[in-house]
Amino acid sequence: MLSCKEVSKLVSQAQDRSLTLGERLSVRMHLLMCRMCRRYQKQLAFLTQAGRRFSHLSHAGAFTLTEKAKARMKQKLEEAAREQAETEPGD
């Protein structure tokens, strides 16, 4: 019989690889009897889903460049463009 600690590891690995038949069976046996691990499993699946959603997110305001940073960047780029124009005439 697996302990909750072992089940927590396998439930996590199930997000990254397919468990072996033996592992799946022992996890299922444990989950039948353990409410906490059932919750844990469900919550990890939620985390994975959230992670995927997070990568597509575009509305978090804290994640935008400040005006100052934009200006800095623009200046650098203009310099680089000028340099490039000088080194490659006719481009």
């Binding site: 302990s3 985390l47 650098k76 680089a80």
Partner: protein, 170 residues
């Protein structure tokens, strides 16, 4: 692009540099831009390489898989028989959380609160969706097994953080 970088490298200054370098590289390589993809896709593609280089470099400097470092911490979630030593509470309407902006701020803060090596790993694997073997290479993790152990720890910590700061707090 900045958001894309920041969500992955977690450091505003580094993210800003990366976006800038991406534009510079793009400027140099602009004749190679065939117009086959949208400009934005092309730029993000360059940015992705910059981000991977960044992790690769820090992976070389600080090899990530000192997995015993937090063994004690992990054990703190279980008693000697391997049972949970704190209640794993049910979460109230997790689906609704995904629609709330504040939830994402907390989610992002919980990732940032991880020890740096776990955060890098979690981001590459769970947010970027990078393949396991590639993650190990980039972060200098010696075995996939070590990666699983660390991912399990990262998830456990994020779970606990979300519970404390979102699910129990609302």
């Amino acid at each position: 692009m900045y958001r894309y970088a920041l969500m992955r490298v977690r450091n505003p200054a580094v993210a800003e540099d990366m976006v800038q370098e991406t534009f510079l590289s793009a400027l140099k390589a602009r004749e190679r831009f065939a117009g086959k993809s949208a400009e934005k896709t092309w730029l993000i593609g360059i940015l992705k390489h910059k981000i991977i280089d960044h992790f690769r470099k820090s992976g070389r400097e600080h090899p990530v898989d000192d997995i015993n470092k937090e063994a004690d911490h992990q054990d703190a979630f279980f008693d000697e028989q391997g049972h949970w030593n704190t209640e794993i509470a049910a979460w109230n309407r997790p689906g609704e959380a995904l629609e709330k902006k504040q939830f994402w701020e907390i989610f992002s803060a919980c990732i940032s609160d991880l020890p740096a090596h776990l955060a890098d790993l979690y981001i590459l694997r769970e947010i970027n969706g990078m393949q396991s073997d590639e993650v190990c290479k980039v972060l200098n993790i010696s075995t996939t097994n070590n990666m699983w152990v660390m991912l399990s720890r990262a998830r456990m910590k994020i779970r606990r953080c979300l519970e404390a700061r979102w699910f129990n707090a609302t």
